[in-house]
Symmetry: C2
Amino acid sequence: MQKHPGIKDIARIAGVSIATVSRVLNGNSYVSPELSKRVLEAAGKLKYQPNRIARGLRKGKTNTIGFLIPDIENPFFSAIVKGAEDFLRKFGYTILLCSSSGIAEREDELLNVLFSHKVDGLMTIPLESQTPYLEKIERLGIPVVVIDDIIKKKDVSSVASDNYSGMSQLMRYLLDTNHKSFAFLSGDPHTYSGKERLRAFRDVMVRQQENVEYEILFGTYTFNSGIDMLRKLKRIPDAIVCGNDMIAFGVLTELQRMRYKIPDDVSITGFDDVLFSKMTNPPLTTVRQDYYMMGEVAAQLLMDSLNYKKRDSVLLKTELVIRGSSRE
Amino acid sequence: MQKHPGIKDIARIAGVSIATVSRVLNGNSYVSPELSKRVLEAAGKLKYQPNRIARGLRKGKTNTIGFLIPDIENPFFSAIVKGAEDFLRKFGYTILLCSSSGIAEREDELLNVLFSHKVDGLMTIPLESQTPYLEKIERLGIPVVVIDDIIKKKDVSSVASDNYSGMSQLMRYLLDTNHKSFAFLSGDPHTYSGKERLRAFRDVMVRQQENVEYEILFGTYTFNSGIDMLRKLKRIPDAIVCGNDMIAFGVLTELQRMRYKIPDDVSITGFDDVLFSKMTNPPLTTVRQDYYMMGEVAAQLLMDSLNYKKRDSVLLKTELVIRGSSRE
DNA sequence: CTGTTAGCGCCTTCAC
DNA sequence: GTGAAGGCGCTAACAG
């Protein structure tokens, strides 16, 4: 922060008081055309840029939104951020982005940092569901929207995809196409989405009357974890249902290395439909989440909290995307 | 920004002056253990969080770094951001991230927003090389580091990979493995990296004495652009050299759809070595850039400018990664 | 060692 | 319609 022109400077040049400068720059109170013109000219000449820090201090509003996510490198998260950013910009807000890199303490620490920066609102994709972090969040005293989790607390808004219904639909499709044995390679089960997908898988399996076999393994939402889990499988079933696309990529890669034919020998499915899902060979059958819209909706919810103090939770539809990695 | 405890509140509770509170909280001046204890207790009880906005206004330093990138959804960029963020956090800085979504005017506008927020420094991956934006940047009056471009201006630091040498090395390898005809599918040639890669390709082709044939097409650094360019090719050569991995993915997908055998019929190469490059089938031969380190180096350069007013430009090594998409 | 005071740049009553 | 003055929360002199 160097010494740069302030309203004082432009007041001096325009030969008016700083109050007048403030008024024309904010355009809320009437100022004579004559003075207006002089002020605007001086501002232009000085290339004046308002100091939002000072303004924030005075108005108690920084026009800044904190965004705390688990991992910026995950394309799923960054697409959400993009959706939110595009939306928020229209309202003059800027995003203060922090990534916890999957570390819980850092998540907590960054929350304090963001709060310290006096963000007007907070958007967050929690590392895990139901943690002290989530409880802390609602006592923050600023509008919060939680993404990829559904919170019932009345002080925070939330938005997530309908993971349960998406996974159910996928399972029904697999059953309809005559798959009899399954493996479910779950991502982190502490996560809201992890829980929901697993719950759907189990429910479908249990309700199924015919004799189906299945096995469930736990890992993380990563490529390498997919490979690990695959290796631990007791046997290769008709279909390997993966917790997300990243896991599926790992499974696909490893299975091909082992000379299995996909989908002839075994079907593979993912969840998310990230950009790369259609690029694999064969392309991946998966459940699409509209992450960009998720970001937009989250931003909309935040604006609602900010302006009308309205809280809400929305569940987004998912869509089954059938591609070549599952046999018909 | 609600009404939350300030040093005034804790001064009242601890029965001391606000100056004393400030002193113990910042720990720069000696305060008696007795008072210190009372202050700390009061602060703890109130769950006090310093207001960095006010502090920033007073100190002329916000501990905030602006980061302006073309597209947050591009894994290449977000990896760079991650590298920088991890580094900057250790120094107590937070990143204010903005994405121009590839729109030049927005890039300019966001620069103003960031400046208005009184960031202490700026990191940016420019949309294009040599634009008014770049010229504006050096007159900002704050330390700047430009990433993925090399700037010779003495007021800004910069860091980029050695694209020229990386592409040269790749071409030599292709020549050594007996490829005789080539297509170069360039990304945006206004970009520093685009220019350098193209220049390397041309130089190698021109210097080559034996009769080699080649064709050059221009597009953007995207999956779809890869498909488009492929379709415009006059004929399928021995090797298709792509401007980056995303283009290569498009080419790979489309070529396989057309029933070509990779690499038997044609070799394909990329540039960047993003996460997914090893997941395609066959995995992609490419040139690795260490984006995470690029972010770290950029952050380091920024800290140097901030602390010692030292400017520098660094060129990072690349590494040829040979995988299955090119024949031996 | 500790308290009092003066701003950082801006917006906003309150007078004129 | 316009100017003067106070204060947002904090830090950094300056006194004592």
